[in-house]
């Protein structure tokens, strides 16, 4: 069976005809299989949704009880028959509950990896390598200039700055689902045990992480805290808030941003970031190329991000590769980074 008879890009997203479902559809569909809870992948309004319990919970928290007609939870490693296909979920290491979806039909296995990273993350199950025939990879950081390094080193940078400027508040821009909790956990692992403050938009999801047994230490809402009391503290906020009037409640804030984009100076500068922290929930170039090679897939489909470079690299390795022209992922992340083309990175 030709892979394109199993999965094919359609207007609503990646469509599996023999299985009768879409993966991460951007428009309402009858049956949706969803990789993870970020809003460009998990949208409301589908008939039936199949996802991990965590992803379903996050969708419920974001969109309300009636975000879908019906839902079904699936565990990592669990297999489900859908139409003529067999669907199996594997950890993607991107955020809590994130999954790669292996779709097998007859003798062909396609893995739609969603967003993934192969770097360690104390807040989610590590990425699992799934051998397959066709690997669908993201390419958010699909350029060899993106090498993320060790996130712990970046957190050390933040802590050093807090020591250096005890009279200033540190405001860390981080996407509210995944990145924020990872940064908090990394701070705790680095031995920082003071209370960490949260922007209102972070509270629900962070509380959810805690309810799933992830210990994040003492967290406080930043709302109603007096300006003077915030000197020498760390506050996590959505990236858009760090350049907002909202920041005026902080004493001379140092603006940090935890994102893979911070590798590129211009990106940091145009956002007015003074302390760029290269911490990403996506695989970097080395991660992407290593993973692609290790899956053993002979054919690679590349989606959202820097497709051209990754497709070129695959071909130079003798792999069959093509960009999947899917729209609606990363590029138009509306909820958290208005008027910018940054994914939840």
């Amino acid at each position: 069976m030709r892979p394109q008879d199993i999965l094919l890009p359609a207007a609503a997203g990646l469509c599996c005809k023999p299985g009768g479902f879409h993966i991460d559809p951007v428009r309402p569909v009858e049956r949706a299989v969803i990789t993870h809870g970020h809003s460009d992948h998990a949208r409301a309004g589908h008939g039936a949704v199949l996802a991990t319990q965590e992803t379903l919970d996050m969708m419920r928290l974001r969109y309300g009880e009636n975000f879908a007609g019906s839902t079904q939870a699936i565990r990592y490693g669990e297999e489900i028959r859908l139409g003529e296909t067999c669907v199996k979920f594997h950890p993607a290491g991107h955020v809590l509950g994130s999954a790669q979806i292996a779709v097998t039909c007859k003798d062909t296995c396609i893995v739609a990896s969603g967003d993934y990273k192969d770097a360690p993350d104390p807040t989610c199950t590590p990425f699992e390598l799934v051998p397959c025939d066709v690997f669908i990879t993201e390419a958010t950081f699909g350029l060899p200039v993106f090498r993320h390094g060790d996130a712990a080193d970046e957190v050390e940078k933040l802590l050093a700055s807090v020591v250096l400027f005890p009279e200033r508040a540190h405001l860390v821009g981080a996407y509210s689902l995944g990145k924020a909790q990872r940064v908090i956990k990394l701070l705790r692992q680095a031995g920082y045990d003071a209370p960490i403050y949260l922007h209102g938009a972070m509270e629900t999801i962070t509380a959810y992480y805690q309810s799933r047994g992830i210990d994040l230490g003492e967290l406080r809402p930043v709302k109603d805290v007096k300006k003077g009391a915030l000197a020498g503290t760390i506050t996590l906020a959505p990236p858009s808030a760090t350049s907002d009037l909202w920041t005026r409640r902080f004493p001379d804030p140092v603006t940090a941003f935890a994102s893979g984009w911070m590798r590129v100076r211009a990106r940091a500068r145009q956002r007015g970031v003074e302390l760029p922290l290269v911490i990403s929930d996506h695989a970097d170039w080395d991660g992407l190329t290593a993973t692609i090679g290790a899956t053993g897939a002979g054919e690679i489909w590349v989606t959202h991000g820097q497709e051209d470079a990754l497709v070129h690299w695959c071909r130079s390795q003798g792999l069959k590769a093509q960009p999947l022209d899917l729209v609606g992922y990363g590029d138009e992340e509306e909820s958290e980074a208005p008027a910018s083309d940054e994914a939840e990175a």
Binding site: P144, V145, D150, W313
Partner: protein, 589 residues
């Protein structure tokens, strides 16, 4: 090198001038000689080694990485040094170096990509820089002194070694240094101010002795730290930091009294400082400096004999033919030539039009009020009596209305036949001393109104540098009759003029109205009823066979967004052709 790289890195992110000063002063305090002196030289553009050409850097990266991947990366990052610094792969390890014979598709990235592994990449990250046995990274002094003596042919190998030894930030700083383009938002003035702060000196004092100093500035630092005497500037023809003007806004006039100001034409040439002085033996040395202090004497040897009176003139370099000032386009043809041939000199006779006198023989006039310096200038030029140097006339006016009229019609206000070379008027306070930099409220420039057309946005491209995530380079077109009815023909490109807010708006428009993508270029909808009209301001027009439209604009920029205007109401090519004709007629008349 690493400490210097760290300094550059922090400076690049630091927006505040005071914090930048603190960082710089801190560096000068912590770091010893001669490293800090070479750092000061790097920041003030005073390093004398021959800079590596970007082409050399490109060759280096091409030898280590895939060309296509480099191209895409460069396009994304927007800065050559940064791209190379980020994607520079480590040297092939010993185990790999036996691959001297050509292997199939030897992508150098294979080693990098496959080496990392996907599980526990943290635990065994040995392929990364952690446990290598490389030599220690070079110091800044080592880099600078090596570059000074290094032969051209040895440079690539040396650079490659350094790139292997340094980390990302170090590579970035090294490349910035060797290409001579630091561009981290630090002016030479700021660096000198920070150095002055080391000894609580007035930066102006440093400026005055600066031309006599050379890297690594041991005598300067000794003086600043109270360990030595103040260095003496022995250069007979030193550069004096230039005074610049603010652009005047309509709202500024209300607070200004015409009686306080002298007006003169703003000539469309090159602002220069022409300095002559006697050395110890009494011989005259003459030098021509650009407004940034670059010695450009070599490009204008024909002016040197005219600089025979000791003094320092602030003026404009122009081309004069039969007493007529030529357009900037003509002057441009004399610039950036490697060889200044007698033929070139004859075809493009150089001329200096004097605005101001900063020094008269041994006397420094800069503390005097402008009105007084102007009188001294008139005397000086009269005494010189040289056909190649004349006085820029003042424009008399009694009210702002009168000056407005003069600016609108320089020909009848005294500029006569040279009116085309007038870019606008300059307003200088009568009592203004000559101050380096751009002091507030002293000098104003008031340019002539630009030409304006309404054009339609056709293509957009990501910007470079600071704007690399924004579609900030715009190709715009006007209507012309085509085979199948009216069509848009591109007439120019602009990438500034808009506000940050407008940039966001256009960026959003581009993303939402892209019809096709060609690599980094987006094809934006441009139909008679659908599209974005840009009001484009520009300074002049030229015929250009290289452009499909046949015209090229000088200094085009976006002056307004016309969300209110449907594209079909944008201007036509005929309008531009009429403007072009009008300009040509003026020139030929």
């Amino acid at each position: 090198m690493n400490r210097f790289a760290e300094l550059l890195d922090r400076l690049a992110y630091e927006p505040g001038r005071n914090n930048k000063l603190r960082l710089l002063a801190g560096y000068f305090r912590e770091v010893g000689d001669p490293d800090r002196g070479y750092a000061l030289a790097a920041l003030t553009g005073a390093l004398s080694f021959k800079h590596a050409k970007p082409a050399l850097i490109r060759d280096l990266i091409a030898s280590r990485t895939d060309e296509v991947l480099f191209g895409l990366s460069y396009d994304y990052v927007g800065d050559l040094s940064e791209t190379v610094a980020l994607m520079w792969p480590k040297a092939p390890t010993i185990s790999q170096s036996f691959q001297s014979h050509p292997s199939p598709q030897p992508s150098p990235l294979v080693g990098e990509g496959q080496g990392g592994g996907y599980s526990g990449r943290d635990a065994d990250e040995s392929p990364h820089a952690r446990h290598h046995n490389n030599p220690p990274p070079p110091t800044l002094t080592e880099v600078v002194t090596t570059l000074r003596t290094l032969g051209k042919t040895e440079l690539p190998k040396q650079l490659e070694r350094w790139l292997d030894e340094l980390d990302e930030t170090g590579r970035w700083a090294l490349l910035k240094l060797v290409t001579g383009a630091l561009r981290i938002g630090i002016s030479a003035r700021l660096a000198k101010t920070a150095a002055a702060a080391l000894g609580d000196k007035d930066p102006h004092e440093v400026e005055l002795i600066w031309p006599g100093l050379s890297p690594p500035y041991l005598d300067l630092f000794a003086w600043l730290e109270g360990r030595g005497d103040k260095p003496v500037n022995r250069d007979p023809a030193p550069f004096r930091p230039v005074m610049l003007a603010h652009a005047i806004e309509d709202s500024d006039f209300a607070a200004l009294d015409p009686a306080d100001y002298i007006a003169e034409w703003k000539w469309d040439g090159i602002r220069v400082q022409a300095v002559a002085g006697r050395d110890e033996l009494g011989r005259i040395t003459a030098r021509l400096y650009s407004r940034t202090g670059e010695d450009i004497t070599g490009s204008f040897p024909d002016l040197v004999p005219s600089l025979r009176l000791p003094g320092a003139i602030d003026g404009e370099l122009l081309i004069l033919r039969e007493g007529r000032v030529q357009s900037f386009n003509v002057l441009q043809q004399r610039l950036n030539r490697k060889v200044v041939s007698p033929k070139l000199i004859k075809a493009f006779p150089i001329h200096l039009r004097a605005y101001d006198l900063l020094g008269d023989d041994e006397n420094d006039l800069r503390e005097l009020p402008f009105a007084e310096r102007r009188e001294r200038l008139e005397t000086f030029i009269g005494k010189l009596g040289d056909p190649r140097i004349d006085l820029s006339p003042t424009v008399s006016f009694a009210s702002w209305a009168a000056l407005t009229a003069a600016r609108a019609d320089p020909a009848s206000a005294g500029a006569g036949e040279d009116a085309d070379a007038v870019e606008g008027v300059m307003l200088k306070r009568r009592d203004a001393p000559y101050l380096p930099g751009r002091p507030k409220g002293q000098w104003w420039k008031w340019k002539r109104d630009p030409h304006i057309i309404d054009a339609v946005l056709m293509y957009a491209q990501r910007g470079h540098g600071k704007r690399s995530s924004y579609y900030s380079d715009y190709t715009f077109g006007v209507w012309t009759a085509g085979a199948g009815g009216d069509e848009l023909v591109p007439v120019g490109k602009a990438y500034f003029g808009f506000t940050d807010e407008e940039l966001l708006q256009i960026d959003r428009f581009v993303r939402r109205n892209t019809t096709e993508k060609f690599g980094p270029v987006r094809h934006v909808v441009h139909e008679p009823e659908q599209g974005l009209v840009l009001e484009v301001a520009f300074e002049g027009l030229q015929r250009s066979p290289r452009h499909k439209s046949g015209v090229a604009m000088r200094f085009p920029r976006i002056s307004r967004l016309r969300w209110d205007k449907p594209p079909r109401e944008a201007d036509r090519l005929e309008t531009l052709e009429r403007m072009l004709k009008a300009e040509t007629v003026e020139v030929e008349a």
